[in-house]
């Protein structure tokens, strides 16, 4: 019985690992039009990101992101209207554009920006 439970746990772990391996990176979520599509509005200090002149939102740089802090950024991504009812930024969490794990990966990406 215990062996069977271990086997099920191992299978679940393997499945989760495979899902993680296939999961989009924070940069991909940031860029993809069907996901964050953040680059449509923001320029970003990632040398690997496509260069754009988009300026609907402010330019995103690592020092600024880290000074805002992860939890404030998480709240902003989840429901930006809570802090600013007039914002044009989509409510990524509240409208389920991104799930919690995807928001986490975007936060990792923003935190690691130069």
């Amino acid at each position: 019985m215990r062996g069977a439970a271990l086997a099920v746990a191992a299978l679940a772990f393997a499945a989760a690992s495979a899902a993680r391996a296939e999961a989009l990176t924070g940069a991909q979520i940031f860029l993809r039009p069907d996901k964050g599509n953040c680059a449509a509005c923001h320029q970003v200090s990632d040398p690997a990101a496509p260069k754009t002149r988009s300026d609907l939102g402010p330019r995103l740089e690592g020092a600024r992101m880290r000074s805002i802090g992860r939890e404030r950024l998480r709240a902003l991504l989840t429901d930006p209207m809570a802090g600013n009812p007039e914002t044009l930024m989509p409510p990524y969490g509240r409208h389920r554009i991104l799930d919690a794990s995807q928001i986490d990966r975007v936060l990792d990406y923003l935190d690691a920006l130069p």
Partner: protein, 278 residues
């Protein structure tokens, strides 16, 4: 997840940078007052852009884009030739689309959409074309089909350079108001309103392209993208998709009212149909 109930979204509260006051104050305003408020806001926001250049859309903010449009000035020729042939084609009873309209269609596009007092609805150029076909026992065209697009491209080219002159009589104010309300309402999963991009952020760049101001948008349709003809309603439907909202069908009362509102805001600007777009 997409927001399936767009009607509920339309009725949702508007909370939009700097436009709430405009939207709320305009709730009972006349069309002329609404246009005056929008014009004043855009002039304050875009002081370096002349009013007549609003009709250039995104190209008003980008020399390179304007040069690209100029370089593709002949791109519409095949579509216009197709539209002209359909416009002059004889029906089974010997009539033509051309004969259904004053002056063979010259300058008629400036006055569409218009309010139809008997049907009590907004009547678009496409509806007028289909009405002519129906009156002469011809098959109706799909509202957003290629043949209708080619015909509207041609008919609007017959009004090139003439100023948009749409009227909103008292009986039509509810339709204008419906269009205005939709324009200012946040819609869809991304929670944008049309006004988010084309009033609040007009002139800024989204996906690297300058956002056209609301005034002028109805003066320069259709566009050509490759060989595809994009009517104003096709463009609105594409925007709704980007907003994560289920688009209203082409020719629906919602899109017709939105087109009515948009076109009235472009009154006085010269029509520039069939510009090329990258």
């Amino acid at each position: 997840m997409r927001c399936p109930d767009i009607h509920r979204a339309v009725l949702a509260a508007c909370a939009l940078a700097g436009t709430c006051a405009l939207a709320a104050a305009s709730a009972l305003a006349s069309p002329a007052e609404v246009k005056g408020e929008v014009d004043a806001r855009l002039h304050a926001q875009l002081p370096s852009i002349e009013t007549r250049d609003y009709a250039l859309g995104s190209a008003a903010f980008d020399e390179e884009l304007r040069a690209q449009e100029d370089a593709h000035a002949d791109a519409a020729k095949p579509v216009l030739a197709k539209g002209a042939a359909l416009w002059k084609r004889r029906f089974k009873d010997g009539h033509t689309l051309s004969a259904c309209f004053p002056n063979g269609g010259r300058r008629v596009a400036v006055a569409y959409p218009q309010y139809h007092p008997r049907l009590k609805l907004v009547f678009t150029l496409e509806m007028a074309i289909n009405q002519c076909l129906k009156a002469h026992h011809e098959a109706l065209l799909d509202y957003d089909g290629a043949e209708m697009a080619a015909i509207t491209a041609y008919v609007r080219s017959l009004s090139d350079g003439y100023r948009v002159a749409v009227r909103v009589p008292g009986a039509a104010q509810a339709h204008f108001e419906n269009g205005r309300r939709m324009y200012f309402s946040r819609l869809g999963q991304r929670n944008f309103a049309c006004a988010s991009c084309h009033i609040v952020a007009a002139g800024k760049r989204y996906a690297d392209v300058p956002l056209s101001p609301v005034v002028g948008q109805a003066a320069r349709w259709p566009f050509l993208r490759g060989e595809e003809v994009l009517t104003l309603q096709a463009q609105i439907r594409a925007c709704l998709e980007r907003m994560g909202a289920a688009p209203f069908p082409a020719g629906s009362e919602e899109l017709n009212d939105l087109e009515y509102f948009l076109t009235y805001l472009s009154n006085g600007l010269p029509i520039r149909a069939n510009a090329w777009r990258p």
